[in-house]
Symmetry: C2
Subunit: 182 residues, 2 copies
DNA sequence: GTCTATATTTCGATAGAC
DNA sequence: GTCTATCGAAATATAGAC
């Protein structure tokens, strides 16, 4: 979708319906056959992006994995997602104030689910005495920062693949939680 | 400044000159005695914020400090800055696309100075063999993420002081660079 | 479904009185 | 310097022909 690129490049409010129309080679009038308003378009992008981000984070969990492997896999996948879909992720994290109150509530639910998921992973490692952290939720927040902020600075022409950034962040995450190493 | 709060709360483009006027209890006409345009207002906030951020990062360097103490002090101060002035920092990091080309170039120079500063600190630790990192600039980027992203989620009613977040991030930074501990 | 044309609103910025 | 009033441009969204 052209709107995704534009919202991410310039921000939601800076993007005009004419810009979107021009990029896809349509008139503004024709676009309104596909969605009711600009905010609805933002909400659809935002909610889908939130759900896919959570799916990326929650996907790699395997039964029987060690807390370290589990956390590394989560950070690796969540980071890779934020690099690969950095345009959508920018909208997800920086365009919340463009949503209506009802739509905002919908995406906040997903955000809460996301942070709870990573907190639980840390908590399991602490319980198993393989992690040592200054505070579970504070470190969870820091790990989310590490993953999420990738969307702010990542560009395809950086010479680094999303997978490489993911691998780096997985390693850093294990260091941050003080994981005992094999 | 009222504009700072509004730009940070809703974004630059979402903030109307009438909103700013209303918050400070002035008319829009009266405001234009104080600045030439909305973009000029954004630029002033952005440049000042950038410079103060760099000053916070570069301030704590002391002669004779160990690489670990030095890096910890930098991350502590830079994080504390981003929590304390999270409204300004939001503008600094998320409202770059609202600037004119000339003004953008000015702030990009400060940003480059900032990342170079933290890279150098890591490089000194690696040279002294007290840090062990997967890559100097990649880890520098990650450290910046950790500090900068604080501005995205910090709120005063969180029950945590900026200094506490700063202390946490300083500890996490030392873990990330694999600093040898006393 | 897409076009051209336009209705309607709202924006940033200015004019002129005080 | 601040006010009221307003200009001119630009925005979202709609109307009606094809």
């Amino acid at each position: 979708m052209a709107a995704i690129e534009l919202f991410a490049e310039q921000g939601y409010h800076a993007t005009k319906t004419r810009d979107i129309a021009a990029r896809i080679g349509m008139s503004t009038g024709a676009m309104y056959a596909h969605f009711r308003s600009k905010e609805e378009l933002l909400f659809e992008i935002s909610l889908t992006g939130h759900e896919r981000g959570f799916a990326a984070l929650a996907g790699p969990t395997e039964a029987g994995a060690t807390p370290s492997d589990e956390l590394a896999a989560m950070v690796r996948a969540f980071t890779t997602y934020h690099a690969t879909f950095h345009t959508i992720a920018k909208i997800v994290h920086y365009e919340l104030y463009g949503l209506t109150e009802e739509h905002l509530a919908r995406v906040l639910e997903v955000r809460h689910r996301t942070s709870a998921w990573i907190e639980d992973a840390i908590r399991r490692g602490v319980a198993a005495k393989v992690f040592s952290v200054p505070g579970v939720s504070a470190v969870a927040r820091a790990l989310l920062s590490l993953c999420v902020d990738v969307a702010r600075w990542y560009r395809e022409d950086l010479g680094e693949t999303p997978a490489q950034i993911g691998e780096l962040n997985a390693e850093l995450a294990l260091r941050m939680v003080g994981a005992e190493r094999a």
